[in-house]
C-alpha cells in the first residue's frame, strides 16, 4: 500500500519536473521582411493577411489584427494615469492616452499631440501648436482647453513627479486659441520638453472631468482618451480589454485588434500562463526563472529597458531620517553605506537585471550622472571603525550599544527600523542580514503604499526606508524632489530624508533656469559631489525591466505606448 502511494506521489512530482511540453511551444518568430509602401496589403505564406506597416522607423510586412494578452500583477483600481504615478494604473491605461510630446529611444522630443513648438530665448515661454483633427474616443474634438484643464486641475494637483517639478515654476498655462498652448514660467525652465510624454503628463478630456474630483470621477473606470486603443471593458480583478481605435490620429496604427490585460497577482502563475500560451507578454520575469526562460530564445523574445509605465530610470534608494538622533550622525550613515554589499543586492535580489549605482543620479540620464564620484565602497572593516568612532562600542549579544554617543543614553542598543513595501521584502532581508554583521539590529516594517506614505512623509516615523525613486529622463523630474528643502512635506515620495542644504537648493534652481546642457551638467556634477559628502541616502541599485514575449508577437517599444506598433500573428 505504501508502495502504491509513493509511486503515485513521485509520478505526480516527476511529471511536474519534466521539461515542458505544452500545446503552444512550437511558435516561430515572424520574419521581418521589408516592404515599400505603407498600407499595401498582401498574403503571407500561411495565407494570413499582411499589411505594410511602419515599426520603429522601418517598413515591414506585419500580420494584421490579432489579440495581445498581457499579464499584469495588480488590479489597478483606476484607469486615470494623470492623477497618479502608480505603476499598476499606468501599465493598464497608458495605451488609451497620449502626451503632448513623446521621447524616442534616444530621449529626443518627437511630436505627439503637439505637432510643433517654439521656445523663447530665455526659456520662459513654450508655445505648442496642437495637431488638428484629433478626436477623443467619444468623438469630441481635442483642443487646447483639454491641455489647460489637465495641467491645472489634475497633473499639478495629483501627479507627484510633475507636481513636484513644475508647480512652483509654472506661472500659467494659456490657450490663445483652440490649437495653441502657451506654458509661461516664472523663470527660465530647461527641462519641459522631457516631461510631456504619456507617463509624466498624459492629457485627459476636460469635457468629461470638469467640475468633478478627478480621483473619484466614474470615468476613471471607463476612460475616454485619445490613444491608439479605446476602452472596451473592465472586469474588476480579472481583466481589462482595450479595443483598437480606428480613428487614431496616427493613420494606420495600431495593428492589433485588441490588447487584453489579465490580472494575475501571483508571479509564478504568470510564468505558467506565459509558458502554456495563454499569455503573450510579461512585464517582468521573477529573478529565479530568468535563466531558464531566457534560454528558450527561439520561442521567446525579450526587451530590456530602464523606462517603465511607473517611471523611468528607477533607482532603489535607502533614505535616512535626518531628524532622528541615530541617523542624523554622518559617521553612522557612512558606516551603513560601507556595510552594504550592493553587488549582493544586484545578484541576489534583482538577478543582475540592472546595475549598482555609481552616482546619486541614474546613469540613464546620460549627460547628468556624476562622473568619478567615490561612493563609500563595501567594507565591513570601515563600517566597524566608523561605528566605533561614533561611540557605539558596547555590546549586547551581537548588537552594538551606545557608550558616549551624543543624544543617546549609554547602553541603548543600536537598533533601527526599516520601512518597505511588501514587494521589496527581499531587499529588506538582505539589508537586515548585512547590517547585522556590523552589529546593527534592524526591525523590519512592511507597509503598503498608503500607510507607508503616512509613516514616512507625514509623520516622519521611521529611521530608514527603501523607495524605488524613479529619476525620470531629466533631473528636474524625479531627482530634485528628493533633495530640495522646499519639498520636505507630507506629499508622498518627496524629500524623504528631510535633507536641507541651501547650496544644493541654489544649484538645483540654477540648473533648472539654464538651457545649455553642458552648463547644467556642470551644476549637477557639483550637486552630486556634495550629496556624496552628505550621504542623505544610500543609492543602492538601478533597476531595469525585462519584458518577455512570445516570438509570434513583435513590434514592442521599450517605453510608453509599448503596443502602438505591436503585432501578433493569430
Amino acid at each position: 500500500m505504501r508502495k502504491i502511494l509513493s509511486i503515485a506521489l513521485s509520478s505526480l512530482l516527476s511529471i511536474s519536473m519534466l521539461p515542458a511540453w505544452s500545446a503552444n511551444a512550437a511558435t516561430t518568430a515572424i520574419p521581418k521582411a521589408p516592404c515599400t509602401k505603407e498600407g499595401d496589403a498582401a498574403r503571407g505564406p500561411k495565407k494570413e493577411k499582411l499589411v505594410c506597416a511602419e515599426v520603429q522607423g522601418s517598413k515591414i510586412w506585419v500580420p494584421r489584427g490579432g489579440d495581445l494578452v498581457v499579464a499584469i500583477s495588480q488590479d489597478p483600481g483606476s484607469l486615470n494615469p494623470a492623477a497618479t504615478t502608480a505603476g499598476a494604473v499606468h501599465t493598464a491605461s497608458e495605451l488609451m492616452f497620449n502626451g503632448l510630446v513623446e521621447l524616442d529611444d534616444k530621449l529626443n522630443p518627437v511630436p505627439e499631440l503637439a505637432e510643433s513648438w517654439t521656445v523663447n530665448k530665455k526659456a520662459t515661454i513654450y508655445t505648442f501648436k496642437l495637431r488638428r483633427g484629433v478626436k477623443w474616443h467619444d468623438g469630441q474634438p481635442f483642443t487646447s482647453a483639454d491641455v489647460k484643464y489637465t495641467f491645472d486641475e489634475v497633473l499639478l494637483k495629483y501627479h507627484s513627479r510633475t507636481r513636484a517639478a513644475m508647480l512652483s515654476a509654472l506661472s500659467v498655462v494659456n490657450t490663445p486659441d483652440k490649437y495653441t498652448v502657451k506654458f509661461i514660467f516664472k523663470e527660465s525652465y530647461g527641462p519641459l520638453l522631457l516631461q510631456l510624454d504619456v507617463t509624466e503628463a498624459p492629457i485627459v478630456p476636460a469635457h468629461i472631468y470638469r467640475g468633478s474630483d478627478p480621483t473619484k470621477n466614474p470615468a476613471n473606470l471607463a476612460p475616454i482618451g485619445t490613444g491608439p486603443f479605446k476602452f472596451g471593458s473592465y472586469t474588476r480583478g480579472a481583466e481589462i480589454v482595450l479595443n483598437k481605435n480606428p480613428d487614431y490620429f496616427k493613420k494606420g496604427k495600431p495593428y492589433l485588434d485588441r490588447v487584453i490585460m489579465r490580472v494575475i497577482p501571483n508571479s509564478a502563475t504568470q510564468v505558467v500562463a506565459f509558458e502554456s500560451g495563454s499569455v503573450d507578454f510579461l512585464w517582468g520575469i521573477p529573478g529565479p526563472q530568468r535563466a531558464r526562460l531566457l534560454a528558450r530564445k527561439k520561442v521567446f523574445d525579450t526587451l530590456v529597458t530602464r523606462r517603465n509605465p511607473g517611471g523611468a530610470n528607477c533607482m532603489m534608494t535607502v533614505s535616512f531620517n535626518l531628524r532622528r538622533s541615530i541617523t542624523s550622525n554622518l559617521g553612522v550613515r557612512q558606516a551603513i553605506f560601507h556595510a552594504l554589499n550592493r553587488e549582493a543586492f544586484l545578484r541576489n535580489v534583482i538577478f543582475s537585471e540592472g546595475s549598482v549605482a555609481v552616482s546619486p543620479f541614474s546613469k540613464g540620464i546620460v549627460w547628468a550622472w556624476g562622473r568619478n564620484l567615490k561612493l563609500p565602497e563595501y567594507s565591513t572593516a570601515k563600517a566597524n571603525a566608523l561605528l566605533d568612532a561614533a561611540g557605539w562600542t558596547g555590546r549586547d549579544g551581537s548588537t552594538r550599544t551606545a557608550q558616549g554617543v551624543s543624544g543617546v543614553a549609554n547602553g541603548t542598543k543600536l537598533s533601527i527600523d526599516f520601512l518597505h513595501f511588501p514587494t521589496f521584502s527581499a531587499y529588506a532581508e538582505l539589508y537586515k542580514a548585512q547590517l547585522r554583521e556590523v552589529g546593527i539590529d534592524v526591525r523590519l516594517r512592511p507597509l503598503e503604499s498608503g500607510p507607508f506614505s503616512t509613516a514616512v512623509f507625514r509623520n516622519r516615523d521611521f529611521d530608514t526606508n527603501i523607495i524605488s525613486y524613479c529619476n525620470g529622463n531629466d533631473p528636474e523630474i524625479g531627482i530634485r524632489r528628493m533633495y530640495d528643502s522646499a519639498q520636505i512635506g507630507s506629499v508622498a515620495f518627496s524629500n524623504a530624508a528631510a535633507y536641507s542644504n541651501m547650496t544644493v537648493d541654489g544649484l538645483f534652481q540654477q540648473a533648472r533656469n539654464t538651457l545649455s546642457i553642458s552648463q547644467r551638467q556642470g551644476l549637477y556634477q557639483k550637486i552630486q559631489e556634495q550629496l556624496v559628502k552628505d550621504v542623505p541616502y544610500v543609492w543602492l541599485v538601478e533597476t531595469k525591466g525585462t519584458r518577455i514575449f512570445t516570438s509570434s508577437c513583435g513590434g514592442f517599444r521599450a517605453y510608453s505606448l509599448f503596443a502602438e506598433e505591436a503585432y501578433c500573428s493569430s
Binding site: 508571479s267 521573477p286 532581508e429
Partner: protein, 267 residues
C-alpha cells in the same frame, strides 16, 4: 506482533508523540543546534543542498537548515501560545456556560457564535494589516478567534456530565463546586477537548503558512510558514527552499492530527 501493537491506541501514539518531542527538543536547543545564524548571509544565494549547507541556501544566501531549526522554535512558540489562550478562554467560557446554564449560557453562546462565524483567515488579514505583523500579535489574534469551537465542545461535555447522577450524588454529599469540576467534569471533558485542540493547532500551523504566503508574516522572526510561504515562487527553480520548510510543516501537522485521532478513537 508489531501490527498488533501499532493497532492499539497506545501504539498509534508512539510515532506522533516521538515526532512532537523531536520538535520540542529542536525548538529548545535551536541556538546550539543550528550551524549558522539564520539571519546572516553565509553563502551564495539559491544554492542546492551541499555538505556545508545540507538543506541549501535561500534567496539571499542564508543557511536553510539553520532557518528550519530556528523555525521549529518560532512555530512551537506560536502553537503553544495559541494553545494556551484557547485552552484558558475556552475552558472558562465552556465550563461557566455548561455549569450555570440559563441566560449566562445563552449570552456566552451567542458571543462564541459571533467569533466563530467570520473566517479566521479574514480576521487575521484585517488585524495584521491594521495593527502590524509580529509573532506576539499573531498569537493573540489566532488565540482570540479560535476558542469558540473548543468552548462549545467543553460546554456540551459539561452539560452531559452535569446531568449524570453521580455528580448530583457528589453534590448531595457536600462536595464544593470547584471540587466537582475538577474531579468529575474535567476528566470527562479532557479526551474530546484534546482531540479538538490537536486538530486546531495543526490548522494554526497551516494558517500561519498561508499568511506568510500572502506576505503577512512577521519578517523579524523566521518561522516555517514564513520560509515555505514566501519561497513558493521558486518551487520550479530552487525547490529546496520551499520543500524542506513545507515538509516540516507537513510532518508537524501530521503528528498533531495523529495524536488527536488516536486520543479520540473509541476502543
Amino acid at each position: 506482533m508489531i501490527s498488533q501493537i501499532s493497532d492499539t491506541r497506545f501504539g498509534k501514539l508512539i510515532a506522533p508523540i516521538a515526532g512532537l518531542s523531536v520538535w520540542l527538543i529542536v525548538a529548545l536547543s535551536a541556538n546550539w543546534l543550528a550551524p549558522f545564524d539564520p539571519f546572516l548571509v553565509v553563502g551564495e544565494g539559491l544554492r542546492g543542498p551541499s555538505i556545508r549547507h545540507p538543506l541549501g541556501t535561500d534567496l539571499i544566501g542564508r543557511d536553510l537548515m539553520s532557518g528550519v531549526i530556528h523555525g521549529a522554535r518560532t512555530s512551537a512558540v506560536i502553537v503553544l501560545g495559541v494553545a494556551s489562550i484557547v485552552v484558558v478562554v475556552a475552558f472558562l467560557i465552556g465550563l461557566t456556560s455548561g455549569f450555570l446554564g440559563g441566560v449566562v449560557d445563552d449570552v456566552l453562546m451567542r458571543v462564541s457564535e459571533a467569533f466563530q462565524v467570520v473566517p479566521r483567515f479574514f480576521l487575521a488579514i484585517v488585524a495584521i494589516a491594521y495593527f502590524g505583523s509580529g509573532v506576539d500579535k499573531l498569537i493573540v489574534i489566532l488565540g482570540l478567534t479560535s476558542w469558540s469551537g473548543l468552548a462549545r465542545v467543553i460546554r456540551a461535555e459539561t452539560l452531559s456530565v452535569r446531568e449524570s447522577t453521580y455528580v448530583e450524588a457528589a453534590q448531595l454529599f457536600g462536595s464544593g463546586t470547584l471540587r466537582t469540576i475538577f474531579r468529575e467534569i474535567l476528566p470527562n471533558v479532557l479526551p474530546t477537548s484534546s482531540v479538538y485542540l490537536m486538530l486546531l493547532l495543526s490548522r494554526v500551523l497551516l494558517l500561519e503558512a498561508s499568511l506568510a504566503f500572502i506576505g503577512l508574516s512577521d519578517p523579524g522572526s523566521i518561522s516555517w510558514g514564513y520560509l515555505a510561504g514566501s519561497s513558493q515562487a521558486y518551487l520550479r527553480s530552487a525547490w529546496w527552499v520551499a520543500l524542506f520548510p513545507g515538509l516540516a510543516i507537513l510532518l508537524a501537522a501530521l503528528c498533531l492530527t495523529s495524536v488527536g485521532d488516536a486520543l479520540g478513537e473509541r476502543k
